[in-house]
């Protein structure tokens, strides 16, 4: 990312610290492994030296608003700003406590997808860079090019909100979808018969380790104590059996319905590669279809499960 933007960002944040406007700034630091940046929780001017912007700014920093209270500044991509809207709506943070800096996002690279497109292992990828409309990938010493659509996360291609929905300042840059007009790949699982769906998901739930990374990285999962940790009564057994994993994932899905903005962090961090975004997207599609609700885009519409209309669909009820 150009130095100019970084300078501008440091200028803004320094001023905020100077004026005592914020106590913490949430940004990104340089990652220590390929294709990763690390969240940076800066507490003062000095920490800003570690600030780093690059092509891999996947982490959704609004996650840390669970822990870090008070006056906080943070960087948001367009998609992250939707989580922010959700959190403000949920009363988890107050708009006036935040200083929001918008980050132009060129779409997040999905190394797994790149490797898949090139037919190699993601461990073999050496470098991924952007060159105009294409991505240049170095694999085992060779350069290969890919269209963006085969390298960026699916959710990024036709990003519906490239420009943050709320911000106090915007860093210079282009706020546009990386591949405008890209049609989302249809989830062909939807069309398969019910037993085949179960065969697919039972295998996914079976593999879940219950490391809770999906829950802990989720900005929408802000309960101080999760129901799966309760044992009196114990609703969900801590044993990572397929059945209990099923209860855990479905329950989590129901709990974040309306707050989940499909930011994709759960799937990105899952160490077992469970396609959790399929579930999220099914849920967000349903909410849109059934109640016309889209999470994290406005502060005024009530959450879908806290309101109703008399004409809500009830064709499934006897």
């Amino acid at each position: 990312m150009p130095e100019k933007i970084e300078k501008e960002l440091i200028g803004i944040v320094s001023r905020l610290f100077d004026e005592g406007r914020i106590h913490h700034f949430l940004g990104y630091g340089k990652g220590t492994v390929k294709f990763k940046t690390t969240p940076l929780i800066a507490r003062n001017q000095e920490d800003l030296r570690e600030l780093w912007l690059e092509d891999f700014c996947a982490p959704n920093l609004t996650l840390y608003l669970k822990d870090i209270k008070g006056q906080v500044g943070l960087l948001v991509k367009g998609c992250d700003s939707r989580s922010l809207v959700s959190l403000i709506k949920e009363g988890q943070v107050r708009r006036e406590d935040l200083y929001v800096v918008g980050l132009p996002c060129p779409g997040q690279i999905d190394p797994g997808k790149v490797a898949g497109a090139l037919g190699c292992e993601s461990e073999e990828l050496e470098e991924i860079t952007r060159r105009g409309p294409e991505m240049v990938v170095r694999v085992n010493g060779q350069e290969k090019t890919l269209p963006k659509s085969l390298a960026l996360m699916d959710k990024c291609l036709n990003c519906p909100y490239p420009k943050p929905l709320i911000f106090d300042s915007l860093l210079p840059g282009e706020y546009v979808a990386p591949v405008p007009g890209a049609t989302p790949t249809e989830d062909e699982l939807c069309r398969r018969p019910v037993p085949e769906k179960w065969a697919f998901w039972a295998e996914q739930f079976r593999r879940c380790l219950r490391c809770y990374a999906c829950r802990n990285v989720c900005p929408a999962c802000f309960c101080p104590r999760c129901i799966v940790e309760e044992n009196m009564p114990q609703w969900v057994s801590p044993l990572a059996t397929m059945g209990d994993n099923f209860v855990f994932h479905l329950l989590r899905l129901m709990h974040v319905a309306g707050t989940c903005t499909s930011c994709g962090e759960c799937q990105r961090v899952c160490p077992m590669g469970i396609p959790l975004m399929k579930l999220n997207e099914k849920m967000t599609d349903d909410l849109r279809e059934l109640f016309g609700y889209v999470a994290g885009v406005d502060l005024d519409r009530p959450f879908p499960f806290r309101t109703y209309r008399q004409e809500d669909p009830d064709d499934f009820i006897r």
């Binding site: 699982l189 939807c190 019910v194 037993p195 085949e196 769906k197 179960w198 065969a199 697919f200 998901w201 039972a202 295998e203 079976r206 593999r207 129901i227 609703w235 969900v236 044993l239 990572a240 059996t241 397929m242 059945g243 209990d244 099923f246 209860v247 479905l250 329950l251 899905l253 129901m254 319905a257 077992m272 579930l279 099914k282 849920m283 349903d286 909410l287 059934l290 109640f291 879908p304 499960f305 806290r306 309101t307 109703y308 008399q310 809500d312 669909p313 009830d314 499934f316 009820i317 006897r318």
Partner: protein, 162 residues
């Protein structure tokens, strides 16, 4: 997970077990009326009285399935009749999403059913129960989470990627 043809699952003499969450103001009273009117309905339902269909947390349904019940029925007041004004309206929204999600992950919607039964609809209650029981019976037992007790590692350990 193997997908067995439905017919094979039906073992002889098997009767489905269905847990019914009934709102105390309407459906539970409706079930009462069914009994006092001497209308018969299949004995496969175990009834759990709840204050309102809105009280039925999705986890009740998930846990019921996990515990191996063959079917779940949630029944409340007709729209507009809720004792708490809008409990059934919000419940309806939750259930609409939940039933779609369950279908998406491969749980047959016939296993998790919803109905509106008022206190005066004894006959309807019997009809709903009969239909639900018949449909679940056709589906066969809920073996989605069956733990093979002779497999000492449950579903996981050995077959899980190391």
């Amino acid at each position: 997970m193997e997908v067995k043809p439905e017919v094979e699952k039906k073992s002889k003499g098997w009767e489905p077990r269905i847990l019914a969450f009934l709102c105390r103001w309407c459906s539970y009273a409706g079930a009462d009326l069914t009994g006092s009117s001497r209308i018969s309905y299949p004995p496969n339902v175990r009834i759990l009285r709840v204050p309102c269909s809105g009280r039925v947390n999705p986890i009740f349904i998930l846990k019921t399935l996990r515990a191996g019940m063959d079917g779940v029925l949630v029944s409340g007041c007709h729209p507009g009749d809720c004792h708490y004004t809008a409990g059934n309206y919000t419940a309806r929204r939750k259930f609409a999403v939940l039933s779609r999600l369950l279908e998406y992950v491969g749980i047959d919607p016939r296993r998790v059913q919803f109905s509106w039964v008022s206190a005066s609809e004894g006959e309807k209650f019997a009809k709903v129960v009969s239909e639900v029981v018949a449909e679940v019976k056709a589906l066969g037992p809920n073996e989605l989470f069956r733990l093979n007790t002779s497999d000492h590692t449950a579903e996981g350990a050995e077959s899980r990627e190391p």
